[in-house]
């Protein structure tokens, strides 16, 4: 394509999108204003692919996916070697739920950029949406490994995928890696406790709950978590003791704090657990 043709293509694209913008955009004034500013700048410099790319990103954020794809297509016509076009397109296809197309583009992108954490994460989610769980887990692991700043959500997301495919030990290992990297934070520990419980490793779950004592969590909540696990593992007497400890601690709080809905709900759960622990159950547990 000649420079003149390229300019014509971009000018048509600019005009079309300006008209579209005026009729379609209203939900986000800040994005609308930025698109408006870019349109004005493009009128003076229609071959500025940087501006078109920026506008494509804004269209994407504004959920105007076709306009975003059109802008990317225009950039590709002008400058075929522009980096990350495949990645940008893939993000849009994912939002349009065109997962197969997104997958192809993302696989191509991560083959060239294996350490691109956001792209790996996006590919992982795309595999998940395509129900390709092994590939999803693999890409999710690579996303975490290549992320400069992994968050609890990253580990939880990967572990959830592993759990959904029945790989509980692997999910637990992922959570452990998160704890090792980020510290003993409540969100990861609760996920680990849930996995331990689900797999019948009640003592391991209890050990994790005990470890939370030094993490600053509310002691009454911690005792109730303990009681839940003990109840499910059939250790009714210990569960009862934990419930009673939690109830005593709650009732010892200042009246206004005890009266918060959260603590009232906790109290109700304690009473519920205690009521399940019938006298006959207690007798059975205490019997040698």
């Amino acid at each position: 394509m000649s420079p003149c043709e390229s300019r014509c293509v971009l000018q048509v694209a600019v005009l079309t999108t300006v008209l579209w913008v005026q009729t379609e955009i209203s939900a986000h004034p800040a994005i609308e204003q930025q698109i408006h500013d870019i349109n004005r700048a493009l009128a003076a410099a229609p071959a500025d692919t940087g501006l078109v790319l920026r506008r494509a990103e804004l269209f994407f954020q504004h959920e105007q996916y076709k306009a975003a794809l059109d802008d990317l297509a225009a950039v590709e016509r002008i400058a075929p070697g522009t980096p990350d076009l495949a990645y940008r397109r893939a993000k849009i296809y994912r939002e349009m739920k065109r997962f197969d197309e997104a997958r192809i583009l993302l696989e191509r992108h991560v083959a060239d950029h294996p350490a691109n954490a956001p792209a790996q994460r996006l590919l992982s989610r795309t595999y998940r949406d395509l129900e390709l769980f092994d590939q999803a887990v693999d890409a999710g692991r690579k996303a975490i490994e290549s992320s400069a700043r992994p968050s609890p959500d990253d580990y939880l997301e990967l572990a959830a995928m592993q759990r959904s495919s029945g790989a509980h030990p692997a999910a637990l290992k992922t959570i452990e890696q998160g704890i090792s990297k980020l510290g003993s934070i409540i969100t990861l520990q609760l996920a680990a406790i849930a996995i331990e419980e689900q797999t019948g490793r009640f003592d391991a779950a209890l050990q994790r709950i005990d470890a939370l004592k030094s993490a600053g969590v509310q002691e009454e909540s911690r005792l109730v978590w303990r009681a839940r696990v003990l109840t499910r593992s059939g250790r009714a007497q210990e569960a009862r003791e934990n419930c009673l400890q939690a109830k005593t601690a709650l009732l010892a709080q200042a009246p206004q704090r005890r009266a918060t809905p959260a603590n009232q709900e906790l109290l109700a759960e304690i009473d519920s657990l205690l009521s399940k622990d019938t006298p006959s159950n207690q007798h059975r547990v205490q019997r040698p």
Partner: protein
């Protein structure tokens, strides 16, 4: 306000040349210069992080003490870097420390009467302290100059006078238009430099701080490398494992920063799971939560129609109110909107029912209908303020029924905590106080007589 210029800043004219000559003459022998003045992060009752940036990479040295002419202690970081960060601990609460920054070879700034900080009051202490709240302030980002942002800053400076500002809360959109490092330099460090070397800055992330990106590409945005926020519960509260949402304690106030932009806002997501556990463990008298997207607004954004605003209202508010949150701050709409004392309103504005949701229909003003009263951590009794006009105003219908007042005015908010009492003011860019309210906490329901004693004696 001090402004940092690059060593080789372009410029012509005799005055500039003279200034440049003077500046160069004052350079330390190493030739290294500050490209970002010292700013304070993660201050607690016993610790303080100081950050600064230089043109040349060196090690880092923070000297500090009780006398600016005799900084008797120092802390070093051996790593050679241009992004310097030194944390000191073992400090005394509510104490003024003077400091200087530099390297093992040279001092670059400080060691004078203007470089100091007060450590926070001890946790649970009832000491008074002041908070300056800036929402959507960063309009000087693109060019380095913005009359609105400057006027709001100057109005606060005049209002505040010589009083110490203990902390600055930024509610996101701190640097327009995409949160680049250069925009941060303009809109935050150059604009507020004089404050930032004395007061701790805390922030939540806004849509312009990530260039509107939501979940995928946000790890590398400058916001996260510019700021240091607690991930391991270093400043109080429960460890979150991320700088996107975190908690900290100052005196008897528990501050909770949430991320309405990039984190999972669903009830079972990591952020709200953490929030639930953090609030359950909280024993502070006051709880203040802040994030960018307002749960209630009819300003330049509409909380009835926009997803982030709806999600935070529907999912975060029930948790916060269950634990008795007192004040929720947000920005995003470029206006000032402040609610009555309300609770239990988690639907659209059409579902607002003053009979069941408005706990106090007064102004909250001591001189008017009286301060809002709250017994301890009573649930569903909070004030919600949108204060997103520290850099621009953008109108809107401004008619959310939960609001006591809605103003299309530039300004910032000031919070004064003292024991059982909170006084909040909205300071216009003109210096006028356009709104105020007070909240008083009691351990039990008060009689009218005891309340009058508390208010007027």
């Amino acid at each position: 306000m001090s402004t940092i210029h690059p060593r080789n800043a372009p410029g012509r004219g005799g005055i500039f040349s003279l200034l440049l000559c003077l500046a160069l003459c004052s350079l330390p022998a190493s030739g290294q210069i500050l490209t970002r003045s010292p700013y304070l992060q993660m201050g607690t009752a016993t610790s303080q992080t100081v950050r600064w940036r230089t043109d040349l990479a060196t090690d880092s040295r923070l000297q500090f003490g009780l006398d600016p002419d005799h900084l008797s202690q120092s802390a070093d970081a051996a790593a050679v870097t241009t992004e310097h960060s030194v944390t000191i601990s073992g400090l005394l609460p509510s104490t003024r420390y003077y400091y200087s920054v530099g390297s093992s070879a040279a001092r670059l700034a400080g060691g004078d009467a203007t470089h100091y900080f007060f450590t926070a009051p001890a946790v649970a202490a009832s000491s008074a302290f002041r908070v300056w709240v800036l929402g959507d302030a960063g309009t000087a980002g693109p060019s380095g100059v913005n009359a609105n942002q400057t006027a709001v800053r100057n109005a606060y400076a005049s209002f505040n006078g010589a009083q110490y500002t203990n902390l600055i809360l930024m509610l996101g959109d701190n640097a327009y238009s995409t949160g680049t490092d250069a925009e941060y330099q303009n809109a935050v460090f150059n604009m507020y430099g004089g404050f930032l070397r004395q007061s701790n800055l805390w922030s939540t992330i806004g849509n312009h701080d990530t260039a509107h990106a939501t979940t995928i590409d946000v790890d590398t945005v400058p916001y996260f490398s510019i700021f240091s926020f607690p991930t391991g519960g270093e400043a109080g509260g429960l460890a979150s494992g991320t700088e996107k949402y975190y908690a900290f304690n100052i005196g008897n106030v528990h501050f909770v920063c949430l991320d309405s932009m990039t984190s999972d806002r669903s009830p079972g997501g990591a952020m709200l799971t953490w929030l639930n556990a953090d609030l359950a463990a909280n024993r502070q008298k006051w709880t203040v939560a802040f994030w960018h997207h307002p749960p209630y607004s009819k300003g330049s954004h509409n909380s009835d129609t926009e997803s982030q605003l709806i999600a935070m209202r529907e999912n975060a508010l029930p948790i916060l109110e269950r634990y008795g949150v007192d004040l929720v701050l947000s920005g995003h709409s470029h206006s000032y909107e402040r609610s009555y004392l309300i609770g239990g309103h988690y639907g659209s504005s059409a579902t607002w029912n003053p009979a069941t949701m408005r706990r106090d229909g007064g102004s909250g003003q001591v001189a008017g209908s009286g301060a809002y009263r709250k017994v301890g951590n009573a649930a569903q009794r909070a004030v919600y303020a949108v204060t997103g006009s520290a850099g621009q105003i953008a109108g809107g219908s401004l008619n959310h029924p939960a609001m006591f007042v809605s103003l299309n005015m530039l300004g910032s908010m000031v919070l004064d905590f003292s024991g059982n009492r909170l006084d909040a003011r909205f300071i216009r860019e003109t210096g006028a106080v356009a709104d105020s309210f007070s909240m008083i906490k009691t351990d039990r329901a008060m009689t009218l007589g005891s309340l009058q004693t508390l208010l007027f004696d």
